[in-house]
C-alpha cells in the first residue's frame, strides 16, 4: 500500500501552513540558516572588562564642590621630575616643543 507523492506533498504543505514553517520539498539551499544565527559581536566585544573610572574622572566629579583631591601617583611623578631638573637631568626645553608640534 503506497501513498502517492503528490498526496504526501499536500500533507507537507498543510503541515507547513499550520506550523508556519517554510515549504521547501526539494531542500533548496536558501541561506536561511545564516539569517537565523544570532549576532555574536556584542558578546565578543565585551570580553575585556570596561574601564570604570580614572583619577581624572574622580577629580572632575568633585570639581563643583571645590573639594581638594590628591592624585598621589601624579604628585610623585611631578616630584620626581622636579628632582631630576634640580640635578640638571630633566627633559630639554626642545623636547617639550617637539611634543606639542607632533600633536
Amino acid at each position: 500500500m503506497s501513498v502517492p507523492r503528490a498526496r504526501l506533498l499536500d500533507l507537507l504543505k498543510a503541515r507547513c501552513e499550520l506550523f508556519s514553517t517554510t515549504f521547501n520539498p526539494e531542500g533548496i539551499r536558501t541561506g536561511n540558516k545564516i539569517l537565523r544565527q544570532r549576532l555574536k559581536g556584542p558578546a565578543l566585544a565585551s570580553y575585556y572588562p570596561p574601564k570604570l573610572w580614572s583619577m581624572r574622572d574622580f577629580q572632575d566629579a568633585f570639581k563643583d564642590l571645590h573639594l581638594l583631591t590628591d592624585n598621589e601617583p601624579e604628585l610623585d611623578r611631578l616630584d620626581h621630575i622636579r628632582r631630576l631638573k634640580q640635578r640638571g637631568k630633566g627633559a630639554s626645553a626642545g623636547s617639550a616643543k617637539n611634543k606639542k608640534k607632533k600633536k
Binding site: I28, R29, T30, G31, K33, I34, L35, Q37, L39, K40, G41, P42, L44, A45, Y47, Y48, P49, P50, K51, L52
Partner: protein, 113 residues
C-alpha cells in the same frame, strides 16, 4: 591597524599591545558583523544568480582581516597571555592558580584525591 583602535582606552584590565590589538579586532568585528552576515547569506542562497553570489564572495574575502571573527583570541585579563586561558575565568592557568590559592575565586578550591 590603528584605525580600528578605540580613540580612548576603554578596557580596565591588564593592557599590553596584544590585548589592545585583540580588543581592536573585537570592536572591528562587532561593527562589521551585519555586513559579513549579509554577504554570507547571499553566498549561501542558491536561488540567487551565480554572478551575484560570486561578487559577494569576492567582497567577503576582500574585507579587512580585523573584521574576521577567527582573528579574535581570548587573552588573559590579568597578564595578557594568549596561551592556556580558562574561558570561564578569562585568566591564564598560572594566574588562575595564584588567584584560586589566594581565595579570590568564589567556589574554587584545591582538590586532592
Amino acid at each position: 591597524m590603528s584605525m580600528f583602535r578605540p580613540k580612548k582606552m576603554d578596557i580596565g584590565c591588564y593592557v599590553n599591545k596584544w590585548v589592545m590589538r585583540d580588543n581592536a579586532k573585537r570592536k572591528a568585528f562587532e561593527a562589521a558583523e551585519p555586513e559579513r552576515q549579509a554577504l554570507r547569506y547571499i553566498i549561501a542562497n542558491t536561488t540567487l544568480p551565480q554572478r551575484t553570489r560570486a561578487i559577494a564572495q569576492l567582497q567577503l574575502t576582500q574585507m579587512h582581516a580585523y573584521t574576521r571573527p577567527t582573528q579574535i583570541k581570548n587573552r588573559c585579563t590579568m597578564g595578557g597571555i594568549g596561551r592556556s586561558v580558562l574561558r570561564a575565568f578569562k585568566i591564564s592557568r598560572y594566574n588562575f592558580r595564584m588567584q584560586a590559592l589566594a581565595g579570590n575565586l568564589p567556589g574554587v578550591k584545591k582538590a586532592s584525591w
